[in-house]
């Protein structure tokens, strides 16, 4: 069952590559939160109940409900246009994200690890690099933030792999999630709008030699 959820997660990354509307991004993100909820619910059997509740709340409340709603609010408030404005056509994005998944797949075959299932490794690294790819090839600041949140999801999956034995690391990862999402999303997206008219990456390229 975990495998099915993680594979669906990977497919959602492919869909992310061809999505052109910001709303689609937000929906994918909420959906991924739901998948992570499922994975952590099934996998984390050895940790204390309180800790489990904390982690489940993080996935279901924070990732699935609060962040998507908040992003929606930010988009409405700042009147950001609905298009994601990629630098590259969707077709190429699709090929590149597929390549990323294949490469991590090949890389995972090089491991002769016993404890960690390879699928965590593949999905986590795919999410990481797909997120970075989104950050590099999209023009808007809000899509950068979304790419970053995808990266965070990848980190969350990887930390699930060691979560049973070392819940402390899992909690630290969640701390990273809360802290940075609020900081990056909340404060700065609003502040940037105050100073610049157009929250576009081109306005943020005055610092150079």
């Amino acid at each position: 069952m975990t495998n099915v959820l993680l594979i669906v997660f990977t497919i959602s990354l492919l869909y992310l590559g061809i999505a052109t509307r910001l709303l689609t991004y937000i929906r994918i993100f909420a959906f991924q939160g739901l998948l992570l909820f499922g994975v952590s619910f099934i996998e984390l059997t050895q940790i204390t109940t309180l800790n489990l509740i904390f982690i489940l709340l993080e996935t279901i409340i924070f990732k699935t409900i609060v962040v998507p709603l908040f992003m929606n609010y930010v988009i409405k408030k700042n009147k950001i246009t609905r298009d994601s404005e990629p630098y590259l056509p969707s077709f190429i994005s699709l090929i590149i994200i597929t390549t990323i998944i294949i490469i991590t797949f090949i890389l995972s075959n090089a491991i002769n690890a016993s404890h960690i299932s390879k699928i965590y490794f593949v999905v986590a690294l795919s999410a990481l690099f797909a997120g970075l790819y989104i950050i590099i090839t999209r023009r808007k600041i809000i899509t950068h933030v979304m790419g970053f949140l995808i990266v965070e999801n990848g980190v969350f999956i990887l930390s699930l792999a060691v979560g049973n034995k070392m819940p402390m690391l899992l909690n630290t990862g969640i701390l990273l999630d809360f802290f940075l999402s609020f900081l990056v999303l909340g404060i700065f997206v609003n502040k940037i709008k105050d100073v610049f008219k157009e929250p576009d990456m081109q306005t943020l390229s005055q610092l150079r030699d």
């Binding site: 090089a110 402390m168 900081l183 700065f188 610092l207």
Partner: protein, 479 residues
């Protein structure tokens, strides 16, 4: 004791944040510095004891803590001067000043925590905290440039810190496979030989890329450069010195874990590549730079490149790396404090708007001259000794080709730095109305003379305690 330190520090930071009177700010800042020094002195007498489970004062921590405390005092002093001056012309509201002081306090506290942490996750948490505090401080001037730089700093550092976290996760996977779930540095060093090399390689790669944003090393150096351009000078002094030391300590501790395993030569190569590229990028950009603070930032990049090369070379290089970091911290901090006065005279950071600094502010020009001697590692300065040791280590390890390349690049950097510094000091200024230049008192340069004096003195007469501390810091590395 660390518990009391953190509690008191948080209380003082809270007071700084809510206080709305200048005198109160100054008193609280003095109290904070007393606390910082008290804690430092306390730790000097509790060497190598574990405190609170997550903190140990070892050689690395103590060296960096002392450097940090010295620079905290000077940075606090210059921050007061900076805010007073800014207040006169731009009327910074007291609220902004309160935020500035509180963020400064958080930055100092987070750096202290990062140095002392003996658990890999604890280091990571404190490094994350420094990002937050530094971003707030970079935003202080609230211009378009400031928001751009702080946004970039926050965003790129966040990604970098995520990378470092992934590295830690890989390390924990390999630890778990080897049958330990204790992630303190001591336990990791003990068990490192049994770790799976594949995970270790991945972990090191991710950790070095992640913390390179803090250390200002090659792959993620760009954020530091942009941050310097707009950060208030006393804060630039921090970002360029102690915050880079934080990044270094985080990388160094991981390197110490790697040092007892079979992948050490591979890790050394990574460090050498990263260091060489840093020096290369710095030299190229130094040749075309037109902004004083950016120039200083590229010079920091160059020095961190040398540090990475020294660490990757090994041998006597390990010792020299620490020496170099100490001297670099003092020198670069002096330069940034002085740039504050340069800006006061010329109202600009652009190199083409400056000139004739000797005439307008003689002690400042002396400082710039001394900084030039130190930063280009000319003989009487301490940095000459540390760089010489690193080059000797490279020579002993037969990295002759690399050594020649580095020396050529350093010569280019030296030429570029000399050109710009001497233009500031001697060249007649173009289109400059000198009538509004007020008198700047000697006391604005006093701290720099002391710091630079330390660079010269410690280079030639290193006290036995310092030598012992550095040897203690590198005791886990192969000799």
């Amino acid at each position: 004791m660390p518990l009391y330190y953190f509690i008191l520090a948080v209380v003082l930071i809270g007071c700084l944040f809510f206080a709305r009177s200048k005198t109160l700010h100054h008193i609280l800042l003095i109290l904070f510095n007393i606390l910082q020094w008290g804690f430092t002195i306390y730790e000097c007498f509790h060497f190598n004891t574990e405190q609170l489970g997550y903190f140990t004062v070892d050689g690395v921590a103590l060296i960096m803590l002392i450097v940090l405390s010295i620079l905290s005092t000077t940075s606090s002093y210059h921050s007061v001067g900076y805010l007073e001056h800014q207040h006169k012309f731009h009327t910074t509201p007291l609220r902004a000043q309160a935020i500035y002081y509180a963020a400064l306090g958080i930055l100092i506290m987070a750096q202290t925590g990062a140095f002392l942490a003996s658990h890999i996750a604890a280091t990571w948490i404190f490094v994350e905290l420094t990002t937050f505090a530094a971003a707030v401080l970079i935003y202080h001037e609230r211009t378009e440039y400031a928001i751009e730089a702080s946004w970039k700093y926050l965003f790129v550092c966040s990604i970098a810190i995520t990378f470092a976290f992934i590295g830690i996760l890989f390390l924990s996977i390999s630890a778990q496979e080897a049958g330990t779930i204790n992630l303190s540095y001591q336990s990791l060093i003990q068990h490192a030989a049994t770790f799976n090399p594949f995970w270790l390689k991945l972990a090191f790669l991710f950790i070095i890329v992640g913390y390179s944003a803090k250390m200002g090393l090659f792959p993620m150096h760009t954020v530091c450069i942009d941050a310097h351009t707009v950060a208030p000078p006393p804060i630039s002094a921090f970002i360029s010195t102690t915050l880079m030391n934080v990044g270094f300590v985080a990388i160094f501790r991981t390197y110490t874990i790697i040092a007892s395993t079979s992948i050490l030569p591979w890790a050394n190569n990574i460090l050498l590549i990263s260091g060489t590229l840093s020096v290369f990028v710095a030299a190229v950009y130094l040749l075309r730079v037109n902004h004083f603070k950016r120039m200083s930032a590229y010079s920091s990049l160059e020095n961190m490149g040398i540090v990475a090369i020294g660490l990757g070379t090994g041998g006597i290089g390990y010792y020299a790396v620490f020496l170099h970091l100490i001297f670099h911290s003092f020198t670069k901090a002096s330069l940034f404090y002085q740039i504050q006065q340069v800006h006061r005279v010329y109202k600009s950071y652009l190199i083409r708007n400056t000139g004739g600094y000797f005439k307008y502010y003689t002690p400042g020009a002396m400082v710039i001259l001394l900084v030039f001697i130190c930063i280009t590692a000319m003989p009487p300065s301490g940095m000459f000794i540390s760089e010489f040791m690193i080059f000797r280590a490279m020579f002993e390890k037969h990295y002759i080709g690399l050594l020649v390349l580095i020396l050529i690049l350093l010569t280019l950097a030296m030429w570029a730095l000399g050109k710009n510094f001497f233009r500031l000091i001697y060249a007649p200024p173009v289109n400059f109305d000198s009538s509004h230049v007020g008198k700047i008192s000697l006391k604005e340069s006093l701290s720099q003379f002391i710091l630079l004096g330390l660079v010269f003195y410690l280079g030639f007469n290193p006290p036995q305690q310092m030598v012992d501390l550095i040897n203690e810091a590198i005791k886990n590395l192969p000799h």
